[in-house]
Amino acid sequence: MYGVVEAVFDDKAVIILDSKEEILIDTHMLPKPFKWGDVFLFEKTQEGWAVISNDVSEKDRRLKENKAKRQALLNRTKKRDMD
């Protein structure tokens, strides 16, 4: 399941999984270098959640998706102004 690095506090990172579940993970468990907003593929193991892939393409896809949403908002307002 994909999860996004939502915030980093000291040596812990807050990850929000696609299931909406929030997990706290030691930063040393994440591939370096990582930053806020990075998207990783997680798998639940007996020890807890673990990163199994640093999928760059998934991050790019999400970034494009959000850019499109923002553009839709701008277009909606522009259209309303013209009307």
């Binding site: 915030a7 807050v14 907003g37 998207v39 970034l63 959000n66 850019k67 949403k69 923002r70």
Partner: protein, 339 residues
């Protein structure tokens, strides 16, 4: 425990004008702008002046007229207060509300993403009523300590317009806010430096981000604004650092002076530089930070800079939610949640 006290400073009452003139001010403003444009045009033609330099001066003239008209539009004899400001205690995050004498409400940021108590919702219920009206919601930038629970604010309250900095991200918090914006009917704006907006009795000067903003980092692309109402000015800069503050002060010195200053980036040593504080020259400064936060905010250097200029400082880490009411007789009332 609630504590009410007068601030150690006192401002003179707003300029008073005879009643019945309110309706003439829009016309007066227009006439003044046209006359100023006419004389500026004459000067350019008569002395063959380069237009480039005059562009900035023109900006300043229009700005001064707007500021003046903002002052005379307010009649202290008709209103109980000018503006009611709440700097909410949202821990290590940011959220503040301004309520104008005309009922206009402006919310700046919505606090942290991991605030399980969803304090922002409770604060707003108390301040504007359940499902109340927010004329403008400014998300200064998309960090998770500024837009947290933003989707709930959009869902539970009647938000008219939303401003964002236009810098995309992949965080779930940001995605949730975008989805809530799409599901709502709000007007969406990405304001830029040099633009001026009117929201009810408020005039809002946009100080940052720049027109040609390049995506560097969220903090440095924060929406910075000065909000004027009556003759009171409130300035906030999100999380921009001191180099950008200095750039703004240098480029738009006439648009940064303010009575009330929100200290940038929760009191980080990298914000609220001396040049900025001197340019703003506030009567009081506020910051928002969590108790015993791991960043060490507010940094002592920032407090020292303000102390050197005799500017009183109040922070949510020490005093809880800060409530400042600018009364129409010129008195300021500051109430803090904690002693």
């Amino acid at each position: 425990m609630n504590r009410k006290r007068k601030t150690p400073y006192k401002r003179t009452a707003s300029k008073k004008r005879p009643s019945g003139q309110k309706g003439n001010h829009s016309l007066l403003k227009t006439v003044l702008v046209v006359v100023a444009a006419f004389f500026l045009g004459l000067l350019v033609e008569r002395y063959d002046l380069p237009f480039d330099g005059l562009e900035a001066r023109w900006d300043q003239i229009v700005h001064s007229i707007r500021q003046w008209s903002n002052t005379v539009d307010f009649d202290p004899s008709e209103e109980e207060y000018v503006v009611d400001i709440r700097v909410f205690d949202v821990g290590q995050g940011s959220s503040m509300l301004l309520k104008g004498y005309d009922g206009t409400t402006i919310l700046i940021d919505t606090g942290r993403f991991d605030d399980s108590e969803k304090r922002i919702i409770h604060y707003l219920n108390d301040e504007i009523g359940v499902g109340g009206k927010i004329d403008l919601l400014i998300f200064t930038h998309n960090d998770a300590d500024h837009i947290g629970n933003g989707e709930l604010v959009l869902e539970y309250f009647q938000v008219g317009e939303v401003w964002m900095n236009g810098m995309d991200h992949t965080s779930q918090t940001y995605t949730r806010v975008l989805d809530a914006l799409l599901a709502s009917n709000v007007t969406y704006v990405e304001p830029k430096r040099g633009e001026t907006y009117t929201k009810g009795a408020f005039t809002i000067d946009v100080l940052h981000p720049q027109q040609d903003a390049t995506e560097s980092n969220q903090n440095d692309e924060s929406i910075a604004t000065r909000l004027s109402i009556g003759d009171t000015q409130f300035i906030q800069t999100g999380d921009i650092d001191a180099s950008i503050e200095a750039e703004i002060a240098h480029e738009r010195p006439y648009a940064v002076s303010a009575d009330i200053m929100m200290i940038g980036h929760h009191g980080s040593r990298y914000s609220a530089g001396m040049e900025w504080i001197e340019a703003v020259d506030p009567a009081v400064a506020f910051y928002q930070a969590g108790q015993d936060n791991s960043y060490g905010h507010p940094h002592q250097e920032v407090l020292d800079r303000l102390e050197a200029l005799d500017i009183p400082v109040y922070g949510t880490d020490t005093f809880g939610t800060l409530s400042l009411t600018i009364l129409s007789d010129g008195e300021w009332d500051l109430t803090t949640e904690e002693e």
